[in-house]
Amino acid sequence: MSDELPPDATVAAKLATYVRAGGVITPLITLLVAFLIGGLAVLITGHDPIATYKAIFNGTGLNWLFPWTSAQDRTIAALNLQQTLIVTTPLILTGLAVAFAFRCGLFNIGGQGQYVVGGIGAVWVGQAFAGMPSVLHITLAILTGVVFGAIWAGIAGLLKALAGTNEVISTIMLNWIAIWTGSYLFNLGGPLQNTNPAQKDVPVSNDVAASAKLPVFWGDPQLQGLHIGLFIALAALLVFWVLLNRTTLGFEVRAVGFNPDAAASSGISVARNYIVVMAICGAFAGLAGTLDVLGWQFRIAVNDIQINQLGFFGIAVALLGRNTAVGTFFSALLFGGLITGTSVRNLDPNVFEPALATNLTYIIQGLVVLLVSTDVLVIWLWQLRRRRRTVPA
């Protein structure tokens, strides 16, 4: 009976139990169910789900990996894959921002706000200091974005540690503060609106200087090729894993995540961990916003801040990826592919209208969150089966 969870188990402890129960199977089943229901939605709109999914897949450019893709298709596929990986980059990081919090028993809904303030920091430093040596400029811009994100999320950690404020509430509120602060900064007459007389009526920032732009290593820089931010995100995955599994900090984080009372009893400061963990989460999400600005957007428009959803996608990425480094990578790639594959630019409109398809991505994202975060049907069934063959007490 030791597998029974205490009634006051933390979210992280529950999740750990579920993950153990389901292994890699449950997220795959979750995904399958989400795709099936999504396919049903396609069917209802009078389209062929299989053809649609195939077109979406080709839109992601992942067919570039197949040896049988023809040379002509391969050229297009390469462009598409670059786009997919450009989106995957911030998704990895916003996913880590949620996953790391989860491992400490915290639910960071604030990835979006942290992403936005990170971007603001990056664009602020990036558009200034023109002529600075590139490596220095990029480093400075990245550091600023990371620190901005860390402070932003750190506020939620601090509130939780000092006043017990629920981090779900505070991060959601901080999202809105970030979004509207950003909107103000870049709006007409705002302090960071562009200084170009020709664009006086456009609510957008200055472009970042050439010295702050991340080098493109695959594809044409003029055509939004793939920037080196991808490697930074992959390095972040490694940092996440090492931090969590191979450092005393990660040891404390996991102990607090599973059982804050036991952690406190053995001398770990739970409050301090909440602050540190939230700051690290913010650093991940802030880095996501930074890389987007320095890698391909080069500027922030009020409109971007208002419609961007990458921070929120991080929740689905982390949940589907089971808060592990490897899982986060694959689910970031999946959502990156979905977002790209259903975008207006990449989906063949003869098969399925991209306008509808974008909603399909949201449907699948929503279903993933729903299926994973509510006490998943799959896991429930799994446990039912386990209960039938319970090991003796």
């Binding site: 191979r246 450092t247 003796p392």
Partner: protein
């Protein structure tokens, strides 16, 4: 006693994978008999009863009711055959009344509606007939644990149970409630019900049972009449060797005070005073028992000492160092080993493996980590050593702590806390939920620590435990130390002090 027994389990074998939970077990209950099933945790008691109740299918063997072989496919079949089960965790609907709970699944109807009056009448009849006092109209959520258990028993009787199985029924009861329960069981027995009483507590088995069957590691060891059996003989059957029920320890004079608590006051979670002006000290080489009825401030006192609860007033000194309000880490580092009251809540991270749990105190220092980086291999090696030294069974360093039995989990906690070689050991309910063999182990370790010149503060709700281990005993009542008694003092004296009557 003529004719076949009411219920017979013959040569029951039940395997889970490679694990044999029951191996060719025979067990029988006669009408009008209380038959105890005794065994350590994991001996296979629950498995056997789950086979009987249709929750597990036996791999081999046969079940007979009144001499007739029966197939029990599910609990529904079991109920129909007249087998009633009272689980450790009650299966009642809290928002429903007693009568509603009773008839649930087999409701008397008036048209399409529940005939509530008929349900209440049946409840009253049953409760009067068997002397089980409950109010049919009361909501289950308003009842105490003892009363809820009576409802469970009534429900079994409502389904005409001829055999009643109680799975560790006293685990959740106070001593008085347990005595009430035994009274009920004797009434049922007189009415001809066959009762299976599962327990690992020797004294109550001797108190209530007619016959006792002992299981060990899935096998039936023996069935003996309760008359003539002793705690010692039963413990021997259960564990397979002689067990020291009384701790042997030498007399020697205590040394310097290692833990001193002066004028300590603290509040509970609701902000009410829970510890009031407590003064005591524990010297090197002595075990001081802290006796008291549950919830008289013992938990808050320990938390205040450990730095887990901020005291309102007073000081705590460990080995000469003032650690008042210094927080758990500095208190631990001053030289305290803390065997936490609730090992699941405070003692262990159940999701961590044994290596991680065993490193929970020392993870920041070499060899477990260097410069902030963990050294997993050193953690595993350290765990292997402690697992060996403290005889933790059923686990490797990589085993999740949650999958160990309670006794072995406790050994992990003790191993970690004693390995740090603390000057002061605070052992809060160190044997709660453990079986005889594990209790002996814990007691021996505490006495060894005392003999090695450590100061041990033993907090327990079991007066027997306190009296057998302690050199002197403090009694706590409503947050105050109301008496200091020698362990030889009479049970009455302790009872008076613990209920506040001594003052």
């Amino acid at each position: 006693m003529s004719g076949p027994p009411l219920l017979e389990l013959k040569q029951i074998t039940k395997r889970f994978g490679t694990l044999v939970a029951n191996r060719a077990v025979d067990f029988e209950v006669r009408a009008g008999e209380i038959h105890a099933l005794l065994g350590e945790n994991g001996a296979g008691k629950s498995t056997l009863m789950n086979v009987l109740y249709g929750l597990h299918r036996p791999d081999e063997g046969e079940i007979r009711m009144d001499g007739v072989p029966v197939e029990i496919e599910s609990s529904r079949t079991a109920i129909r055959l007249g087998i009633g089960m009272v689980h450790q965790h009650f299966m009642l609907v809290p928002v429903m009344t007693v009568a509603e709970n009773l008839v649930l699944g087999d409701e008397p109807r008036a048209g399409p509606l529940l005939d509530y009056r008929a349900a209440a009448r049946r409840t009253r009849e049953l409760s009067e007939r068997f002397g089980l006092a409950v109010d049919p109209e009361a909501r289950v959520q308003d009842l105490g644990v003892g009363a809820q258990q009576r409802v469970e028993i009534l429900r079994a009787l409502f389904h005409d149970a001829k055999v009643l199985v109680l799975d560790e029924p006293t685990a959740v009861l106070t001593a008085q409630e347990a005595q009430d329960l035994f009274g009920v069981l004797r009434t049922l027995k007189a009415e001809g019900t066959g009762i299976v009483f599962i327990s690992h507590k020797l004294n109550e088995v001797l108190d209530v049972a007619d016959r006792i069957t002992v299981l060990r590691r899935g096998e039936k060891i023996d069935t003996v009449p309760a008359e003539g059996a002793t705690e010692r003989s039963l413990a021997r059957l259960m564990v397979g060797r002689d067990v020291l029920l009384r701790v042997e320890k030498d007399e020697h004079p205590p040394g310097e005070p290692l833990l001193s608590v002066r004028g300590l006051s603290a509040r509970d979670d609701r902000g009410l005073p829970a510890v009031r002006d407590v003064d005591f000290e524990v010297r090197a080489g002595e075990i001081v028992g802290l006796a008291g009825i549950d919830a008289n401030g013992q938990s808050e006192l320990i938390e205040a000492i450990m730095g887990l609860r901020r005291p309102d007033a007073g000081t705590v000194t460990v080995a000469g160092r003032d650690v008042t309000g210094a927080g758990p880490r500095r208190t631990l580092e001053a030289g305290v080993g803390h065997i936490a009251e609730d090992r699941h809540r405070r003692g262990l991270v159940l999701e961590f493996d044994l290596a991680e749990n065993l490193a929970l105190r020392e993870y920041r220092a070499p060899p477990y980590s260097r410069h902030g980086f963990l050294h997993p291999r050193a953690m595993v090696a350290g765990a292997r050593r402690l697992i060996d030294e403290f005889d933790v069974r059923g686990g490797e360093p990589e085993t999740r702590a949650g999958s160990l039995s309670g006794g072995n989990q406790q050994k992990v906690v003790i191993a970690r806390e004693l390995d740090a070689d603390p000057q002061v050991i605070i052992a809060a309910q160190p044997t709660r939920g453990l079986d005889v063999g594990a209790i002996e182990f814990v007691h021996r370790r505490l006495v060894e620590a005392r003999d090695a010149g450590r100061a041990v503060l033993l907090v327990s709700l079991e007066l027997e435990e306190i009296r057998s281990l302690s050199d002197r005993v403090l009694v706590m009542y409503e947050g105050q130390i109301v008496a200091e008694l020698p362990p030889e003092a009479s049970e009455e004296d302790f009872g008076m002090a613990m209920t506040g009557a001594a003052a």
